[in-house]
Symmetry: C2
């Protein structure tokens, strides 16, 4: 409900009117920059006046405090329309610190991973930790927790659970509805979630969905998709009214394929988003600045690229006061010394110069060192908990496909030693285990994976989509035990073990997903465990990321959860041994 | 507050999903039409499936009920983003009936005129009368009632009055903020209204406002403008983030001048609107169809023109389910046999074929013959109430400028007879009077007007912007008395009197503004009074319209209200006699 505004609001409005008219001096005037105008798609020279965190004038302005930005670009702050904070392994304050220097001033986050671990308190944690930061964090509520009934997650989120957050002004709607088969089939608990957010934004996630099923999915109220991998797919989605988020993250890189869909006619319905961005990518490439650069490399007009990380994203989400440099907008303004490639020289957040020429220029309330949170409660286990007794000749084995999260389902003769199924490095076969970590059920899914490259030792991680139990790959039960034990002792993280010794570890005590430390420390830790994993024989680009997706039973073909192997296409558990 | 949806909602969603997937037949399939896609700006052949009033599929569809639309266009229903219902002199049901055959399926109305007459009950009347019609009526709440302190209106609307309507889902925000000087000067009651609707849409009205003042106006939260008359003016407003409504109505015609601002880059921020449309225009040209035709005559791509009366307007107002033909949208669909000029063959409203080949094909709940409402309560008056005693040599006279609502302020020697100031047809000088009609104050403003053309008799009208007291122009006190008496007896309307006889009259008993009758009857009545006025000597194109603006004291230079002559530039009353 609206109410007649307080005297204070009116007073502030009056002050900004006076400043806009030049009757009192603005706090700051940016003089003579080349404004990137995302409404008219022009670049032209102008001044920008700012007072009380708001852009109050664009035109000819003067004042006692000016910044000469002649020869530079004045650009709205960047907005990421779909990002999983957890993928950065940083808590919101550390993430804010990591992305601000690259021009990001707002993020629409889907706290899907922490919600799988902690449920509503996980969402609450993200909301609380991201308050009062120099990056605005908005949230879409995870729509699919747990991802399937074939695993044990830390929580189950119903429509009613989600709605407890719906009145928060930073909650914009329902996050990526991955269960598109459930939507299209009319499953009630799924439709309930969609219906509950009828007045808000409902994001989609529907890879390759097309034709009538796509019509059904969109007709249910889903407004966007960030899973397009083919040009024709994206064109069909645009035609049916979807906002297409072109994704370019650490894992999925769709920009090159999809840029051809962006034209003067369609651009308003397109955004650039990252989805997932790992700490080493954040450190080496930055954030949305890199996406604008990539789009330009593919031949896109830079103004259209900027629109896709500013006004288009803001308008899709109904965010009225960010995404442009115009009167009444929040003064989230970047000064770019170059547009191709993007070079961010200065960042203003709500009118405050927060970052300038590679230095922080303002004490912003970054909080450090979040305490460990979240359950780390597996049932007791021992080295022989990882043993697999031989119960047949042939076994199902997860066949890795390099650099993909899709897997093959293979059947091979079981490698056996002393009546136990064991790793067979000669055939690039390792053991794999998933331990339930929330409620001490004692669930351990055991199996084999081929093509992971590991020739000795073990790697364990509490990052294992989407339920984030402890996943472990290895060649010996003892090393697997030690790797899991190390992860448990850290209250979450990644550990690499070789010959009974912990070679490297990265602690992720915040829900088993985030470090609570700075980007630099986190990226360094990631680098160490990545390198140690490669010493064990892994040749793929991102062994730890591949490991983290082996427990995701919505991506074909064969996966493993704490409750055993999953035939994804049949959407059911299957035994290790083929009868 | 949202709540978990009822079983009924879920059931409906399920049914539409099944129909979208082709598992149950849709209610209707439009086969093989050329879809005007307002998202991708393409036209291509496709089917459109409709069930339960919703578009459920666009692609290949079949069903037991089909309509062959090959060779024709499938187009979203048209939306007028700024319209004063009262200008049509029709009540909402009659207006709906008048515009539907021309393809209009939604109107965003500003009940500014009736609000001046009746206050909140006038707004309530419009809301109630426009419910459950085959045109969706949305409302913006009048921001400037009364227009000035220099007149007596039927009501005064404060921020608090307006807010009593703000929870109505058809109330979208605050209507055209005409008091731009008040905004820019920071007048508190004005800012209160703007602040009260901070979460809704706030329309602007700021002719020729520019530079710092325009920045201030926009920064206060105003999102649109429909008063641009110059190309550069419109470009400046676009650059500063305004949604520019290009107006082409009965009175103001800005389309030709402003079409050059519409490009592939800017079109999303532009709409076409009518503002005012008189019954004879509605009858002869239709509604938004005419605007699309005009835009094409000026060289605009027809798809861009269609966008400006569909998706662009819907998106500006945050209306998510109208403005496009795509899954999930309300099935407001037009079949056009031609796009240039627009020829509407069939109109579907919420999936119902309501109009087809010039005939109504469905009983829609049009209500007829609204009862007279609204005050008609002038104090007693006699013929000599219109007499002006001579009190000096020279008088101020309102100088008409042909076909404009601007006037000159002239000073002339008073025409006198028997000690009274009288009309002087030789110099084209007539008497003019405005009688307060709400509270029997007995206020009568008396003066002279030059250039109106009237040589004998009198014309009186209860349509006199914005306070809508009874305005009367004439050459004899007796005829003026009779004309006003006739208007009073009709409880509002227009009367033309000559030599003691009523030559023609149009009853407007609904608030003194609307006829309560059909378009045809209303336009006929208008035609009769217009013709009769011309018999009295009026040579201008629209004498009745010119008369109705002579009491509007916000348009320079000299105007008249029930409280006397107004020097608009001084914003104060001035005496008739020049001392």
């Amino acid at each position: 409900m609206m109410q007649v505004e307080t005297d204070d609001t009116i007073h502030k409005l009056k002050q900004s009117l006076l400043a806009a008219r030049g009757e009192i001096p603005p706090n700051l005037v940016l003089k003579g920059g080349s404004l990137i105008n995302v409404f008219t798609r022009e670049i032209y020279e102008t001044d920008v006046a700012i007072s009380d965190g708001i852009i109050i004038g664009v035109g000819r302005y003067d004042g006692p405090v000016t910044l000469d930005v002649r020869g530079k670009f004045i650009c709205p702050g960047f907005i990421d329309g779909h990002f999983h904070i957890e993928s950065s392994m940083l808590t919101p304050p550390e993430l804010a610190k990591a992305v601000l220097p690259h021009g990001t001033t707002a993020i629409v986050a889907d706290p899907h991973e922490i919600a799988n671990v902690l449920g509503p308190p996980g969402i609450r944690f993200m909301l609380d930790e991201s308050l009062h930061l120099p990056v605005d964090f908005f949230f879409m509520l995870p729509s699919c927790v747990p991802a399937t009934h074939l695993e044990t997650s830390g929580a189950v989120l119903t429509a009613r659970d989600l709605m407890t957050f719906s009145s928060d002004p930073r909650v914009l709607g329902l996050a990526e509805m991955m269960n598109y088969p459930g939507v299209v089939a009319g499953m009630e608990p799924v439709l309930e979630k969609i219906a509950a957010f009828a007045n808000k934004i409902r994001d989609g996630h529907a890879p390759l969905l097309s034709g009538r099923d796509l019509n059904a999915y969109i007709g249910s109220g889903i407004g966007s998709d960030h899973e397009c991998t083919e040009e024709e797919e994206a064109r069909e989605k645009l035609r049916l009214g979807m906002h297409v988020m072109i994704r370019e993250g650490t894992q999925a890189k769709n920009l090159k394929t999809l840029i051809p869909i962006v034209s003067d006619a369609t651009v308003q319905h397109c955004s650039l988003v990252t989805d997932d961005l790992h700490p080493h990518d954040l450190l080496s490439r930055g954030h949305l600045n890199h996406l604008i650069d990539r789009a330009q490399e593919e031949g896109l007009d830079p103004i259209l690229a900027v629109m896709m990380v500013t006004i288009n994203t803001a308008r899709y989400f109904g965010l009225k006061n960010i995404g442009a440099v115009a009167p009444g907008y929040q003064a989230d303004v970047l000064i770019l010394s170059s547009l191709n490639p993007v070079s961010v020289e200065t960042v203003f957040k709500r009118g405050v110069r927060i970052f300038d020429r590679k230095e922080w220029t303002c004490d912003m309330p970054f909080r450090h060192g979040a305490e460990g949170i979240g359950p780390m409660n597996p049932a007791p286990y021992r080295p022989d908990s990882f043993s697999i007794r031989r119960e047949g000749e042939n076994v199902r084995v997860i066949g890795l496909i390099p650099d993909q999260i899709l897997t093959d389902a293979r059947i091979i003769g079981a490698p056996v030693q002393d009546g136990l199924v064991v790793a067979d490095p000669e055939r690039d076969i390792a053991k794999i285990a998933v331990l339930e970590r929330y409620r001490a059920t004692g669930n351990i899914g055991l199996g084999l994976v081929q093509g992971f490259g590991i020739r000795e030792g073990s790697i364990a991680s509490s990052v294992s989509h989407d339920s984030h139990n402890i996943i472990c790959v290895g060649c010996s039960d003892e090393d697997m035990y030690l790797a899991v034990k190390t992860v448990e002792a850290m209250r979450g993280g990644i550990a690499v073990v070789r010959k009974g010794r912990v070679e490297a570890s990265l602690a992720l005590p915040v829900a088993g997903l985030m470090s609570g430390r700075s980007l630099e420390e986190t990226a360094h830790g990631w680098h160490m465990v990545d390198r140690a994993a490669k010493v064990l024989g892994c040749r793929q680009r991102e062994p730890l990321m591949e490991l983290s997706f082996l427990a995701l039973p919505v991506i074909p073909s064969l996966k493993i959860t704490d409750r055993g192997l999953v035939d994804v296409l049949q959407f059911t558990h299957v035994p290790l041994f083929v009868s």
